[in-house]
């Protein structure tokens, strides 16, 4: 736990605008075949993805690095308001155990054929983890843009 780091340095907010409907972006987050197409930075793949889409339901995605290393992203859905917002917990399962768990809220606002997506993630154990996830998500959202396009 990073006692000295500011709370705001351990929270992440990313905004992106996609040329797609809110429903399409919502589906990209919640349909396993679509989620698998964009999760992880360039070169990463998702060979396995399971989503139990209901409040209290869980998701699990195996994220494979270009070097072949596998990590598992998993969490629980807390709130599903299709197609405007979803809230879920998020953490990585490592061989030595489950890592620190954060909460993610994705808000989708459609207007004029575009959808503004705002993702909040809190509270990271350390600012450094926040920075790593900031890079990881942004690279993943570049892929999401292609999937939606």
């Amino acid at each position: 736990m990073a006692q000295n780091e500011k709370i705001q340095d351990r929270t992440l907010v990313i905004s992106r605008t996609f040329k797609a409907s809110a429903q399409a972006v919502y589906d990209a987050w919640t349909k396993p075949d679509q989620f698998a197409k964009w999760m992880g930075p360039g070169g990463y793949t998702v060979p396995e993805c399971e989503i139990d889409l209901k409040a209290g339901g869980q998701f699990r995605a195996v994220v494979k690095s270009p070097e072949g290393g596998e990590n598992i992203a998993a969490g629980t859905y807390e709130e599903l308001a299709e197609p405007d917002r979803l809230v879920f917990t998020f953490g990585w399962n490592y061989p030595e155990g489950r890592g620190h768990v954060t909460a993610i809220t994705v808000e989708l606002a459609e207007s004029g054929g575009e959808t503004e997506m705002t993702m909040h993630q809190a509270l990271f154990a350390e600012a450094e983890h926040r920075d790593q996830h900031n890079q990881g998500w942004n690279a993943s959202f570049d892929k999401m843009e292609k999937v939606l396009g």
Binding site: I7, G91, T102, H120
Partner: protein, 112 residues
């Protein structure tokens, strides 16, 4: 009706609620600030705060019509004391086990 420790540890068994407690450890906060941190709706943050309040871990006061949430440090100490007691019990048990193994001439290593 649940006992105090079940309520306290149960309340802490959620990442959002642990994060709320960690945030409040830095100082009291407005309900809106906590909701904004996770982009949670008013009902969702209210539910989390209710669980924490029922467990006696937080308290709320109203200042100029704004609800301010703060940590109940003395209640947190009770949970901490319990953990310390359990740790002390096992530490002393392991000390006895060490002595026993040494007496029996069994080589062993204890990792802290």
């Amino acid at each position: 009706m649940e006992d105090v420790l079940t309520l306290r540890f149960g309340a802490m068994a959620h990442p959002v609620r642990r994060s709320i407690l960690e945030t409040l450890a830095r100082g009291s906060a407005k309900v809106g600030e906590l909701a904004a941190m996770f982009a949670l709706t008013a009902p969702a943050i209210t539910n989390h705060l209710k669980v924490l309040e029922r467990a006696g871990l937080i308290k709320r006061r109203v200042e100029a019509q704004t609800r301010i949430i703060s940590l109940c440090t003395e209640e947190m100490t009770a949970a901490e004391d319990w953990l310390k007691d359990v740790r002390a019990f096992w530490e002393s048990s392991f000390d006895k086990l060490d002595a026993h193994l040494q007496e029996a001439g069994i080589n062993h290593e204890r990792k802290e």
